[in-house]
Amino acid sequence: MRQFSAVISVNNPAAPDWMHLAFEWPNQTEDPPMDQPKPGQFFTVLPPFVETTAGALLRRPLAFAGFTSDGSVKHAHALYQIRGPMTRALSLMKPGMSLDVIGPLGTCFPLPHADSRAVIAGGGIGTGPVLFLAEFLQKQGFDTTLALGFRSESRIPLRGTYESARLPIWNSLIRKAVIATDDGSAGIRGTIIDALMHLQQSSDISRWHLYACGPAPMLAALGKFAEQAAIPAHFSAEQWMACGVGACHGCVISTKTNSYLRVCTDGPVFDASIIDWEADRR
């Protein structure tokens, strides 16, 4: 983990409300060399326009969505949605500008067993990290399937005209993914669970290792699905965060044993069976 000033290389709209951010990773000649981001990990940013951000105060956590090499220069990527003043300020930044970054932070997704099938479910805000995980596991030679859920076709990032020159892999991953939309405008009509039920018809579920990142209701449904199927599952959680490094205990989520874990340092990736995914919704 380090705080550094990163030069932005890409900050483009990738779909309505979606932005693709990339920045140069600090020089690896530093001693000790900085850890490279792994799927599941995140970073926090502080856009420089704080005075115009309507009193917003805290850094914003964003999940890594890719890590690429461009000759000797490495780039970290993220997909983010414009949700409030801080992400709006971030969306106004141009390539070449410098961004205050702290990272890499948090835990990463563990590898599946060699004979497992990695079934990776994502949707909404969780799309970026699952793309990174799918790419990573595919490169390692794992049997990998990506399933994505969205409200409607227009909400799917990187499916329309936006092609990232630096990350063509995203477009191909999304083209090959099993898609579910609430309104049926693309793929299967229904939720991510319907997409998994569809997959299950042609696949031995006992070999699955389920990975997920997405909105809380999606994770709650996927938690139940994994429990009923008795398959290993690792999900990345989201929570309001202040320090991002484990000091303030502000970002906890509830476990099934009535204790709390910090999303920023105990997570964000958790063994899905220990978390009470319904707790926040009661």
Binding site: M1, A56, L57, L58, Q239, W240, G250
Partner: protein, 339 residues
């Protein structure tokens, strides 16, 4: 007077980040930034506030802890505490409301797991103490005294105590002590009898007259006061029609409360003879100087760390630059400078 090993007489030189071991006045650019709290000498006035910096482990890779004046630990209670249910945080314009609920590993794990690491730091370590009953506070201090030795043992990992009688996020103890002058005086006196280390009582702004509580702590034997803890606040989610944080109300911190803190320090420092440590919404050197001019001898940085972990040391550099610009050689003179 005890001084920590290796920090004999520290002065601050602008421009470089090195510290010099020279006599006062031998260099026209040397500034005396030291702060005395009872028998403790802090190398400079900038501390990191309790609850925002853990026990020093989490920020180790991001902050040069040894350059701080003091590290105020997360509160330690007698028993381990899980804290309050989530969500525990909500952001509000120029502020942050939290309801952590004193989550901490308890005194025994503090002594075995946290104290050995705290001993490694060269800045002053102030251990923040909280409890549900008077006996809780006394027992925590007695356990630490038994393990860390009586008085200020160099490198003991405990240079002073900050007594938290102002946490707004627990049902028992916390702020319910800090709003009653008689309870504050009695608790301070009992702790005074339990330790020779400096005692700093952290005051709540959620009272009618903060000077009344300040005087009670002074009468009870406090060496200093920290002013202020968070201000009770609430945000309501109008779509879900429920409070934004699970416990309903929480403690508001950040720039939104800075004027409340400055006014409290201004009032309290005129009501008591003991030193006052200012905190509440300090993000810049200018904010810190407002507190120092209002009468504080030192300051703490909390919520600003979340935005920028470098804030405390940038504030320290900014205070030194201001002193140079205004030809002030001794930090302790600032509190007498306001017209």
């Amino acid at each position: 007077m005890h001084r920590r090993p290796g920090i004999r007489c520290q002065h601050y030189r602008l421009g470089g980040r090195q510290k010099m071991n020279t006599a006062i006045g031998s260099d026209s650019t040397a500034l005396d930034l030291r702060v005395s709290i009872g028998s403790l000498v802090m190398q400079n006035p900038v501390g990191v506030a309790s609850g925002t910096f853990g026990y020093g482990e989490e920020y180790r890779e991001l902050v040069s802890i040894d350059r701080l004046g003091a590290l105020y630990t997360k509160a330690v209670t007698l028993e381990p505490r899980e804290g309050n249910p989530p969500p525990r945080l909500v952001e509000t314009p120029m502020g942050l409301i939290n309801s952590i609920g004193l989550a901490n590993p308890g005194i025994e794990r503090f002594l075995t797991e946290k104290l050995p690491l705290l001993k490694q730091h060269r800045c002053a370590i102030v251990v923040n103490i909280a409890g549900s009953t008077e006996d809780d506070y006394v027992q925590v201090v007695e356990r630490i005294e038994a393990c860390a030795g009586p008085g200020q043992v160099p490198g003991s990992g405990v240079d002073a105590y900050e007594i938290n009688v102002s946490c707004p996020n627990v049902h028992r103890g916390g702020m319910s002590f800090g709003t009653d002058p008689a309870l504050v005086e009695r608790l301070t006196r009992r702790l005074r009898n339990a330790t020779r280390r400096p005692l700093i009582v952290k005051l709540s702004p959620n009272v009618t007259d903060i000077t009344e509580i300040a005087r009670a702590a002074e009468t009870g034997g406090a060496d200093a006061l920290s002013c202020i803890n968070t201000v009770v606040g609430m945000v309501i989610d109008t779509e879900r029609m429920r409070p934004a944080i699970a416990r309903g109300t929480g403690g508001l911190s950040g720039p939104a409360i800075r004027p409340i803190g400055v006014a409290a320090v201004w009032k309290v420092s005129r009501a008591v003879a003991i030193p006052v440590i200012g905190l509440g919404g300090i993000s810049t050197a200018e904010d810190a100087l407002q507190y120092l001019l209002a009468g504080a001898v030192a300051i703490q940085v909390g919520t600003a760390l979340f935005q920028n972990p470098s804030a405390p040391l940038e504030i320290l550099d900014g205070i030194a630059a201001w002193m140079q610009r205004h030809s002030v050689a001794r930090l302790d003179d600032i509190r007498h400078m306001m017209e």
